[in-house]
Every structure is written in structure tokens, then in C-alpha cells.
Point group: C4
Chain length 151, copies 4
């Protein structure tokens, strides 16, 4: 649910969908991820503050935790132990994974577009059509010559 | 094996493959993932219950564990120690990874489709064909004029 | 290096590249991954056996470790401590990640193919060509009629 | 930000973008990843040296840490505890993830290209055009025959 929602949210937020959606979606998701990581670091330390067995007690620790969580590394040196800390963690994880998915998909779209331009279907179409136009030219000359011959 | 099976299962379950398969597959896989996470949280706590060294002892813990497992973060604060708990864990991992793969692939398909529409091969084809139709019009007029001139 | 090598190895091993390479590559990679996980579980326990601080001491533990390693979850309940155990670990990680990449890429190719068939460029091409053939029919009738009229 | 930057850096560094960008990007990213892992292993042990609670104290340990970090496994047997060690860790994580994204995207592009060649739009285009050329031949023969008949 959440990944789909994020996708749509990014598409709607960016608004102007006219040009290269994939670059804007990947860029937008990266910006959202950085904001979620910065905000999540603050939110998780606020949620964990004073909890029994909490190990996320300062903003620098929270930032390191949000980096290793968003990248899904998860060493286990820091992790939330409260309900709200874990909700923040789940959001950071999902936003992180969705962003990597978007960057991967945008790269694929970029590569596919480059390959298409190399194979150049449009160029082929133009070439085939030019050959047909030459046939038309020839028939028109034949018709014109015939008419001339009929005079 | 399992990812391929899941893929086919989702395709079969959704049944109506007529329209934008990628959106339905990504949406369906997300739904399956949420169900597997909710069910896995229950199944793992049931499997681990009373086992020596078990640390997954309540449903809320199980849910947090299934979230960090499906996202492949794996802090190591909770993990199954019994055979059946680990089987549940393997299922949650594989379903999670396959879902992210599907969401990424669906995003790529969406982006590629947008790019194709922008480059608009069909528009080019139409334009080239219109030029050919104009040549036909001209030849028909020449033929009609010639016949008229022959009267 | 290794992902590229694996890709080529799978392509070469499968040999008959004539039909839907992506399905065969994803399927082949999944088979390779399962074999690497089964073999890696054995190899890692053999490498770790008797080492100081080793925690991977039985095949079932090794299998659970290779599952959580290939899926990149890595709880940290089991991990290799010897050189060769870590070499095995690196292989399991890289094969796992490459397999998920292949499955994701195969899903994207499948989805893109479905979308293409829906938009149906070929159908458009056929329709446009049929219109041109109708113009030819008409010109031929005009020419035949003219000749008939000339008799 | 960083993934986008890396993407552009690889594209610029490789310079000659004329042929199969996706293979060069995936290959280049893999080379960069290996260099970052080798360099990161050295950098993290240098940063961690003598720090309170540091567990990354030798190059072999650093190398194992950079492998499990770049693959996002993160067992938690080794992790940086200093600011600069964590900066190195963040770089290794992001480069690792971006590389897998590139390899996945390059695989998708490769698969899509193979599928396109199988469906062979260009072949269809050629066939349709040949049929039109045959119609031209026939009309030219009709025109030539008519002219001959008029003599």
C-alpha cells in the first residue's frame, strides 16, 4: 500500500508530468528520502527518550540509525524499542526501499531509451518511406511522360 | 523457485489480465506481502513459544520482526530460533524481496510507457503515412485529369 | 565483476538463447542461488569447524545462515569468523543480490512486453498499410477503367 | 542526491557514450564499487583506530565489513562507532545499493532489447513495405503496358 501511495504522492507533488517523469520521480523520491532520514532521526530519538532499554539517545546516533535503516543494512548497534520508534523505523525502511526501486526503474528507463535511439526505429521508418516516395516520383514522371506522348 | 511461483500465483489469482498487468501485479504483491507480514507475525510467535532462547514472545514483537525481516533490515534484536519459526522467516524474506522486485519492475514499466508516449512512434508513423496519401491524391488527380484530357 | 560473470555464465550455460532469455536467466539464476545456498551452508560449517568464536557449527544452522545472508537480512545470530567462511559468505551475498536483480529485470521485461502488446504498434502499422493498399486498388481500377474506356 | 550524482559521474567518466551505455554503466559502477570497498576497508580501520568501543581494528576485518555493508547484509559483528567511520559506512552503503540498481537496470535493458529483436518490429515494417513495392511494380507495368497498347 505505502509504496504505491508514495509513488502517486511523488507524481502528484511534482505536478508537471510533461517531461521525463522517471528523472523527476527518482529525484523527488531521493529528496523525500533525505527529508525522511533527517526527520526520522529526530522523531526516533524523541520517541525512544527515557524508554527502558533504549539505545537511540542522541540525534547523531539517530542519524546513523536512519542511514543504516534506510539502506536496509541494519547492523543492530541501534534499533528502536518503543511503539512509536518502531513506526518511525517502518516508515524509514519503506521510503528507503521505494526510493531505491524508483532510482533502479529510472536507470532502466534511461538505458532503454538510449538503446532505442541507437537501434533507431524512426530512422528505419523514414528510410522505408523515402523509397516509397521515389516510386511515386517515378510513376508521376511516367504519367506526365505518357500524357506528353499523347499530345 | 518461490519467486517464480509467487509471480505466477499473483498473475493467476488476479485473473483478468486484460489491462495494465504490472499495476495489478505490484498492487497484488503488496497486498500479499501485508497479509504475509500480519500472518507471519502470528505464526512466528506461535512457533517460537516456549522454545529455549526464544526472543519472539508476543504479537507486537512478531509484527516488528516481520517488518524488519520483509524489508531485509534485520537488526538482530529479534530472530527465530526454531525450525518452524525459521521457515516462517524464510517465507517473509522471499515474499518481501519479490514484492520489491515487482514494485520496481512496475515502476520501470510505467516510466518506459511514459517515455514511449513522449517520443510517440505512432505519431511519426501517422505523419509518414499522411504524406503517402497525399501522393496518392495527386496521382489520382493526374489520372482523372488525363482521362478528362482524353475526352 | 562477479555479477557480470554470473550473468554471462547463466547465458552460456542455458545455451539455447532463442526464446525469452529473461525467463530462462531468472529461472537459471534462481536454480543457481538454491544450489549456492545448499552448498554454501555445507561449506561454511566446514570452514568454521573448530575455529575460535565460531557460531556456525551445524548444517541446519548453516542453511538458516545462508538464507538470511542471500536475502541480505543478516540478523547477526550467525556469521562466519574465518577467512574461508567469509569467502563463502561473500559468494552467497553476491549470488543472492544478482538473482534478485535478474528476477526484477525479468519481471520488468515481462510487464513491458505486455504493455507493448496492449498498445500494439504492429496493429497500427497493419492498419495504416491496409489504407495504402486500398489506395492502390483504386488507382489500379482507375487505370484499368481508363484502358477499358480507351478501347 | 548521491545516487543521482554517482550515475552522472559514471556517465561522464566513461565519456564515450556512443555504444550500449547500460553495459558500460553497470561495468563502471561495479569497478567503482570494488574500489570503494577496498578503499573503504582501509579508511574505516584508520578512522576507528583507538576509538572507545571500536571493533574494526584490522584491514581483513575492514574488508569483510565493507563486503557485508555494500551488500546491505549487516550482521552487526563489525560496525563503525566514530563519525568518520560512519561517513565511510554511508558511502559504502550508497555506492553498493546504486551499483545493484545499475546492474538490475542493465539486465532489464538487455532483456528488453532481446525481446524486441524477437518480436522484430523492423522485420514487420520491411515486410509491409515490400508488399507496397510490389503494388508499385504492378502499377508501373500497367502504365507501361497501357502506353505500349496506345502505340
Amino acid at each position: 500500500m505505502v509504496p504505491g501511495f508514495l509513488t502517486r504522492a511523488v507524481a502528484v507533488l511534482l505536478g508537471r508530468e510533461g517531461r521525463s517523469l522517471h528523472l523527476k520521480a527518482a529525484g523527488g523520491a531521493t529528496v523525500v528520502l533525505v527529508l525522511v532520514m533527517l526527520g526520522g532521526a529526530w522523531a526516533v530519538t524523541a520517541a525512544e527518550e527515557g524508554a527502558h532499554g533504549a539505545n537511540l539517545t542522541s540525534y547523531p546516533q539517530g542519524l546513523w540509525w536512519s542511514i543504516e535503516t534506510a539502506t536496509t543494512v541494519g547492523y543492530g548497534d541501534f534499533y528502536p524499542v518503543t511503539l512509536w520508534g518502531r513506526v518511525v523505523g517502518a516508515v524509514v525502511m519503506v521510503v528507503g526501499i521505494t526510493t531505491y526501486g524508483m532510482v533502479t526503474a529510472a536507470l532502466a528507463t534511461w538505458f532503454v531509451g538510449r538503446e532505442e535511439r541507437r537501434r533507431d526505429h524512426t530512422h528505419r521508418l523514414r528510410e522505408e518511406t523515402r523509397a516509397l516516395h521515389e516510386r511515386f516520383d517515378r510513376i508521376e514522371r511516367m504519367l506526365a511522360g505518357e500524357r506528353g506522348g499523347a499530345d
